[in-house]
């Protein structure tokens, strides 16, 4: 039996990338795997970082700013009343919350999508060649275009599949490194999947493999990527979570798996299915 789950592996890797004093942005999430990727992993990662190297890091979960994230403070559900009553240091009006982006005060922001391309362009808008005649219409871009434009760094968490990691997205809901002229933010910085962690080569501005998860081969990554991805020679293996990290996650932060298996939503799930 494996010592850790995929959710735990990614949570620890995200937490290492949380910088002290910074504001980290997640949405409020909906349910299932989408919740785990966009909210569950980021929120546990922020709390883990606060306990370790980044005690002054904070996060913004929709209108709930700097929430308490310990097991005892987390509500059972994420319905409206639970969000309003979630113990936190501040709930600010929407215009101020969204203003945080433009003021450059958003550090690491989290995103997911139906498609991500080699430039880090994200798509949660629509699938099809013609915007006016979508083959598949998704709910909408929400704040993704804002965080991709303004956050200092963006961490994208998606399943590693050919139809997700594509050569070029059908619709750009979050701008990557293809053309960022005039955008103040840093854009996509990390792409994390069930197989690997990717970053962006500063010279080509395209996605490359940073580390491969234990048990995964370079060929598996090539086979499941929809473009010719750069895999540097001697690429490192993603480090396994330490016993202490696993203890903090399982005992202090998320014993009910409300975040990492989305039990806080009406649709519990696992990224390993």
């Amino acid at each position: 039996m494996k010592r850790y789950t995929l959710e735990e592996l990614l949570t620890v890797e995200v937490s290492k990338r949380i910088i002290d004093d910074e504001m980290n942005f997640t949405g409020i999430g909906t349910g299932g795997k989408a919740y785990i990727r966009a909210c569950g992993i980021p929120l546990v990662a922020v709390r883990l970082a606060q306990m370790k190297h980044a005690p002054n890091a904070l996060c913004m979960m929709g209108p709930v700013l700097d929430p308490l994230l310990d097991a005892a403070s987390v509500p059972d559900h994420n319905w409206e009343y639970d969000l309003i009553k979630w113990p936190c240091r501040s709930q600010i009006p929407l215009e101020d919350a969204l203003g945080i982006f433009r003021l450059g005060k958003s550090g690491l922001a989290f995103a997911s999508g139906a498609q991500v391309d080699k430039w880090g362009n994200l798509n949660i808008g629509m699938i099809g060649d013609d915007y006016s005649k979508p083959k598949v219409r998704f709910p909408g871009v929400l704040a993704q275009t804002d965080l991709a434009a303004f956050a200092k760094r963006v961490c994208i968490i998606v399943p590693h599949e050919k139809r997700v990691l594509v050569d070029h997205v059908d619709f750009i809901s979050g701008v990557g490194h293809e053309n960022r002229e005039g955008l103040p933010g840093g854009g996509p910085t990390y792409v994390m999947t069930n197989l690997a962690i990717m970053d962006f080569n500063p010279e080509t501005r395209q996605m490359r493999v940073h580390s491969i998860h234990p048990g995964v081969t370079a060929d598996m990554i090539r086979e499941n990527t929809g473009f010719d991805i750069e895999i540097p020679e001697n690429v490192m293996t993603t480090p396994e979570p330490s016993d202490e990290d696993l203890r903090l996650i399982r005992e202090e932060i998320d014993p009910g798996r409300k975040f990492l298996n989305a039990y806080i939503t009406s649709e519990p799930a696992s990224l390993e299915d």
Binding site: T30, G31, G62, P63, N78, W79, E80, Y81, L83, I84, Q91, I92, P93, L94, E95, A97, L98, F101, R102, N123, G125, Y131, S132, K133, P134, K135, V136, R137, F138, P139, G140, V141, L142, A143, Q144, T145, D146, A148, A149, F150, F171, I172, S173, G174, V175, E178, N179, R180, E181, G182, L183, P184, T265, S266, E267
Partner: protein
């Protein structure tokens, strides 16, 4: 002294003011506090060719688009939050029966805010190089002071705004509970940017109560043209600390929405063949809703 004018009116009379082809801005966000009583009445009166504006839409857009009332819709989202996709919206947009214009959350906010501030357009860097620029309404401009590139976005100028709130007096002084979902604050701007603003409220209170609590009056009567009394008027949406989303009804709505025919039957059952009072009885009646969904602990 002359009697002051009461702005209190019936749901059907208020909605009858909205003609086919009108531009209608709708308050609420996701499946929270949309003015569903007014939305149902728009469907009941079989409005056509509406253009809809929202900050972040949910069942409100889905129902109006599914019922064939809208030709165009602008928002940062149209989905059912925890209940999944907005199926009628998706079906109609994929069939090109309704145009959807993508906006980010800040872009939608900026377009409402510009209007409520008396401006004709807003500027933003967000849409640069993004799919939002697929819409010809967005135009690049340059800052005359710094030379920075921006996108100009025309302010929303709805003919009507329909917004749900907690309480008001009959003169149209509208209040929100102090403890509320701060993601819904766009409602205050949405109410201020229309030619005509219709507010539905949970409670009508005497003017003395408004005078006792003036800091809660986020929309004094000069911004409000009509007030309708609609207890549980956001149902099945949630309404801040007053009541939760009706999960049971929401799931039924989603099941019916699997097909066009199923949704038509839903509308027959809950909208076309009912008045708003009958709708509330059909979903259990006020007492049952209060027992099932009410939190009873709101603070004023």
């Amino acid at each position: 002294m002359q009697e002051r004018r009461s702005k209190l009116t019936s749901i059907s009379d208020a909605v009858a003011l909205i003609p086919d082809g009108a531009k209608v801005a709708i308050g609420g966000s996701l499946i929270r506090k949309a003015p569903m009583a007014l939305v149902r009445e728009l469907v009941r009166q079989k409005k056509k060719n509406l253009t809809l504006y929202s900050w972040s839409a949910g069942m409100d857009f889905d129902m109006l688009i599914g019922a064939g009332c809208a030709k165009e819709a602008w928002s940062s989202y149209c989905g059912m939050f925890n209940l999944g996709m907005a199926k009628n919206f998706r079906r109609a947009v994929e069939a090109c029966e309704c145009r959807f214009v993508d906006l980010s959350e800040t872009c939608a906010m900026d377009k409402f805010r510009a209007s409520a501030y008396g401006l004709t357009f807003a500027i933003s860097k967000t849409p640069l190089h993004s799919g939002i620029m697929n819409n010809p309404e967005f135009k690049e401009i340059t800052c005359p002071f710094t030379g920075e590139k921006y996108v100009a976005m025309e302010a929303f100028h709805p003919d009507f705004s329909i917004v749900h709130a907690h309480r008001a007096d009959k003169y149209g002084n509208v209040q929100l509970d102090a403890v509320r979902m701060m993601d819904n604050e766009m409602d205050i701007y949405i109410a201020k940017c229309a030619k005509t603003t219709i507010m539905s409220v949970e409670e009508i209170v005497p003017e003395e109560e408004i005078i006792r609590t003036p800091t809660m009056t986020v929309l004094p009567k000069l911004f409000v043209d009509y007030v309708v009394h609609a207890p549980y008027g956001a149902h099945p949406n949630s309404c801040d600390c007053r009541y939760d989303f009706d999960l049971e009804h929401g799931e039924y709505y989603q099941k019916c929405s699997d097909t066009k025919e199923g949704f038509e039957q839903y509308l027959q059952e809950y909208v076309y063949g009912t008045t708003e009072e009958e709708y509330i009885e059909k979903v259990g009646g006020l007492e049952n809703l209060e027992a099932r969904l009410g939190r009873g602990g709101w603070e004023s």
